[in-house]
């Protein structure tokens, strides 16, 4: 697979994710189902007002409604139409000097989430893996740092670090633009990164990023997570990841095309929302040239990994 096709694939995935998500929820394809339960004629007003409570969701007929996303119609209301030319800090009765009242929408927040910090056991070896994401900024623009990698035998085997500007583009989606830097046993690589991250319908957390590197390199990485609460504190987290590379990078053990896919299940107990130990299992498969390179090194192409670790944020 050449760079062009990987870029095409990237565009497809990056386009498809929001299309699937943004547009599906948004561009009018989100068909609300409405109306259907039996009204109780003659019921008291109290009871009538109360009846919807008993109505099951979804047991309804159709009526197109467009409750999420989309673009504003031409005749949408101007939110400044009532201002009469006044602004927050100018015009009659405004306090002197610069505007004092600034609420949390003009305040920056930040978080460091260590989604995975785990001991990984395979048939052949043990290692330590980490996957963290930090952000700092406001609701619609923020600095995002992502870091993922693993250590074995006291050495950093591989690590991917990304520094991104995240910008909200839809209710549930941020576009991200920035740099990625790979280090580890093989030669370092740097990339330009462009991706989207957000929440797809049915609560799938999706992170899809396309990369362009030196010497005509390109890559695509798609990660999806789901949170399935068994109880209020016991959460099962399925997680999948695929990687594609546009150009063979033998020194880093990468072929071109689909290099590997991972699917894992982690069961965590939330001691608090911010601190949860977990156990899990993960399957990793290498494909194509990447699998060939692994075999040539005597490594396995298919791996079952047992993991135990911590998820925490602050």
């Amino acid at each position: 697979m050449n760079t062009l096709s990987i870029l095409a694939a990237s565009v497809l995935v990056l386009g498809a994710a929001p299309t699937l998500a943004i547009a599906a929820g948004a561009q009018g394809q989100h068909v609300m189902e409405a109306a259907g339960a039996q009204p109780e004629s003659g019921a008291s007003p109290m009871k009538q007002a109360a009846a919807p409570a008993a109505m099951p969701m979804g047991a309804m007929d159709h009526g197109d409604m467009n409750m999420q996303g989309g673009s504003a119609p031409a005749d949408a209301r101007d939110p400044h139409a009532y201002s009469g030319g006044y602004t927050l800090d100018s015009g009659k009765y405004a306090l002197a000097g610069p505007r004092q009242l600034r609420l949390a929408d003009e305040h920056s927040f930040g978080t460091l989430l260590v989604d995975r910090l785990e001991r990984v056991d395979t048939r052949d070896a043990t290692s330590t893996a980490f996957d963290a994401q930090a952000w700092f900024g406001r609701d619609y623009d923020r600095l995002v740092v992502k870091a993922e990698g693993d250590y074995a035998n006291g050495r950093l085997e591989e690590a991917r670090t990304e520094l991104l500007w995240g910008h909200a583009i839809a209710s549930y989606w941020d576009a991200q633009l920035g740099l990625r830097y790979d280090t580890g046993e093989g030669p370092d690589r740097s990339w330009l990164a462009f991706g989207i991250q957000g929440l797809a319908p049915y609560w799938f957390e999706l992170d899809a990023t396309a990369y362009v590197g030196n010497e005509g390199r390109s890559a695509l990485r798609v990660e999806a997570e789901y949170e399935l609460p068994i109880t209020q504190r016991l959460v099962l987290q399925p997680r999948g990841e695929i990687n594609l590379y546009g150009k063979k990078d033998e020194a880093n053990g990468m072929g071109s095309g689909l290099t590997d896919a991972t699917f894992g299940l982690r069961l965590r107990y939330e001691v608090s929302r911010q601190f949860a130990p977990y156990i899990g299992v993960e399957w990793n498969n290498k494909f194509g040239q990447t699998a060939d390179l692994a075999r040539a090194e005597g490594a396995s192409t298919r791996e079952t990994r047992w993991v135990a670790g911590l998820r925490f944020w602050f």
Binding site: M32, G36, P52, G63, G70, A72, R77
Partner: protein, 613 residues
């Protein structure tokens, strides 16, 4: 809720109970750890329970830090004259009062007189009415009381209200109290968190359901599937999941961080008001909470509501009422037994505030169990469309009237729809001469509601006022609704609306962003009202939460969807997917605040400035 564990790792079921129930002697400090010793040496512990009463026309208030202990963990509160609640101010109609507020904090403070009509410079909103009160400074408020009733006051700076700065303000009628009552108690509800409020905010920004321990689980799904069938269980969840909305998103904070207080007293502390058999007791309920709606009832006693937001209403007898931060209700009760529980459960059913009415101290009555958590319904998400089958039909017809019927294929699918009512409504519409006689039913979303700040929009809102709200529908009790309120004497201004202003209540729960028209305060421009005009405000709720909307400086005269006057309020709760309207007479020159009174929504930007000029 399962036992809570502290992050450090000790299982603390006991602590958890103490946390929810509070210390019996909450506020009184026993054994302070080192960190607080120094402060405690300087500042005496906060006085909690029934607040001291201050009267007259000259009042001095001092804002300072003082130690409290509601949960077993000593904390510093910001207090007024060292008590939680702050002193009850009993002022007299017609008096001009001078209130000196001295700031002994290390940060700026302010006091807002909630619901009091006064010059804008006295309204106490830093950055709008004045510069705030700097540390060490004294600000002198002076205003004339032109109204009567139960009101309250609180800090309007940062999160100081949540950390203890709230008190009752009662304006007594000059000619004497027309309501005969043998006892008169202020019952001020509030909430307390041991966490720093901005830390709570930061957590919500990272994970907006952080404090929700009533989330739908796999276990719930299997239970539903086994009782109602698999398809029904899937249907019940499908749309919520598809839209990435939570049906148990009832409150942002919960008992997981809040201790619910009645007159500054924990449930275990059990604030008690005394009475003698045969007496008539007036209870002035004030919701001074930072972020909690309360559902209040007194098992075994009917409550006759006589005032709402300080304004007399035609008496209406109920078993229960819901009110949000900012609202007040005065009720009369005539207890016959020895003891009754004042029970105020939080709207999300994660806890309750509790007190007792008794003939002697120490008596208690049973404390009811919390009601079950109910999922939000279609009506809460989609308004009239979702609630179609069960809605009040006249309101429904009103909602459709101005719409293009061909655009509504579902209209014909509505089983049992009262076509007679609809037809009648049409004829009325045809006869109506002035289009401003009632609120416009045409939904006009702002163009800024189509971006990342907003997670949903309601195209067919419900306009009926007779819905007690989620968790109170069909509960077997007579629950107060806005439709039950009828202000004595009618509106203050007989004029109809000269024009309409439509504002949408918006938010994005996943981002924990709250706004009006999809614009947070920082990006907004003021709403300008021409001095003297009578204007209709339409508030249209595009979120799944109830927002108590408080307009400073002027009354909000709530009307029905048909344009009939309902009640004069200073804080109007707007339910999910509801569209309500009220009239305002812009008779107060200056700049005013207008915001959701849930503190975290306000601070997130669900806030507007109003200019009257």
């Amino acid at each position: 809720m399962p036992a809570r564990f502290s992050p450090i790792g000790t299982p603390v079921t006991l602590n958890r109970r103490r946390f929810v129930q509070g210390l019996a002697a909450g506020g009184v400090l026993a054994g302070l750890p080192g960190l607080l010793h120094a402060a405690a040496d300087r500042a005496p512990s906060t006085v909690t329970g029934a607040a001291p009463v201050l009267r007259g026309t000259e009042i001095d208030l001092v804002v300072a830090e003082s130690p409290v202990n509601f949960t077993g963990n000593p904390r510093m509160a910001t207090t007024i004259n060292g008590s939680i609640p702050a002193p009850t101010l009993r002022l007299r109609e017609g008096d001009t009062v001078t209130i000196r507020v001295t700031n002994r904090l290390r940060e700026a403070t302010s006091i807002h007189w909630h619901g009091i009509i006064l010059p804008y410079q006295m309204d106490g909103v830093p950055g709008i009415s004045f510069a705030g009160i700097a540390p060490g400074e004294t600000f002198t408020y002076r205003f004339k009381l032109e109204q009567t009733g139960t009101y309250w006051y609180h800090s309007h700076s940062g999160m100081q209200e949540l950390t203890g700065m709230y008190g009752a303000l009662i304006v007594e009628p000059r000619e004497g109290e027309p309501v005969r009552a043998d006892r008169d108690y202020v019952v001020q509800l509030s909430d307390w968190t041991d966490e720093a409020p901005m830390q709570v905010f930061a957590k919500l920004k990272t994970q907006s359901d952080y404090y929700n321990y009533n989330q739908p689980t796999v276990a719930d799904f299997f239970r539903d599937a086994s009782t109602d069938g698999l398809k029904s269980a899937i249907d019940k969840r499908k749309m919520w999941n598809e839209m990435r909305m939570s049906p148990t998103d009832l409150a942002d904070l919960s008992g997981a961080t809040l201790t619910f207080l009645m007159n500054g007293t924990t449930p275990a502390g059990n604030w008690t008001g005394l009475f003698r058999r045969g007496e008539r007791v007036r209870l002035r309920f004030i919701n001074g909470a930072g972020n909690s709606f309360y559902d209040v009832r007194i098992p075994g006693l009917k409550m006759t509501v006589i005032q709402s937001d300080g304004v007399d209403v035609e008496p209406v007898t109920v078993d229960e009422f819901r009110f949000g931060p900012g609202e007040t209700y005065d009720v009369l009760v005539e207890p016959k037994d020895d003891a009754y529980t004042l029970f105020a459960q939080a709207m999300d059913r994660s806890g309750y505030a509790r007190g007792t009415l008794a003939v002697q101290p120490g008596l208690t009555a049973p404390v009811p169990a919390l009601d079950k958590v109910e999922w939000l319904t279609m009506a809460d998400m989609m308004g009239a469309m979702g609630g179609m089958a069960g809605m009040d039909h006249s309101a429904m017809a009103g909602g459709m009237k101005d719409r293009n019927h061909t655009a509504m294929p579902m209209q014909h699918n509505m089983p049992g729809m009262n076509h007679g009512a609809m037809a009648m409504d049409h004829s009325q519409h045809a006869m109506a001469e002035n289009p401003l006689d009632k609120a416009s039913q045409t939904v006009r979303h702002a163009r800024t509601e189509y971006g990342p700040s907003t997670d949903m929009r309601v195209d067919m809102p419900r306009t009926n006022l007779d819905d007690p709200g989620i968790g109170l529908r069909n509960n077997g009790r007579r629950v107060l609704t806005l439709a039950d309120l009828s202000t004595v004497g009618g509106p203050i201004d007989p004029r109809g609306a000269e024009r309409e202003i439509e504002l949408h209540l918006t938010g994005n729960m996943e981002r924990y962003a709250w706004s009006l028209d999809g614009l947070e305060f920082g990006q907004s421009t003021p709403v300008h009202l021409r001095y003297g005009e009578r204007v209709r405000v339409i508030l249209h709720n595009d979120t799944m939460m109830t927002h108590p909307m408080h307009l400073h400086g002027m009354w909000s005269e709530l009307e029905t969807a048909d344009g009939a006057f309902q009640a004069r309020r200073h804080t109007i709760p707007v339910q999910p997917a509801q569209r309500i309207s009220f009239l305002v007479t812009a008779d107060a020159l200056g700049r005013w605040a207008w915001h959701c009174h849930l503190m975290f929504h306000m601070d997130a930007g669900m806030f507007r400035q109003v200019v009257v000029s």
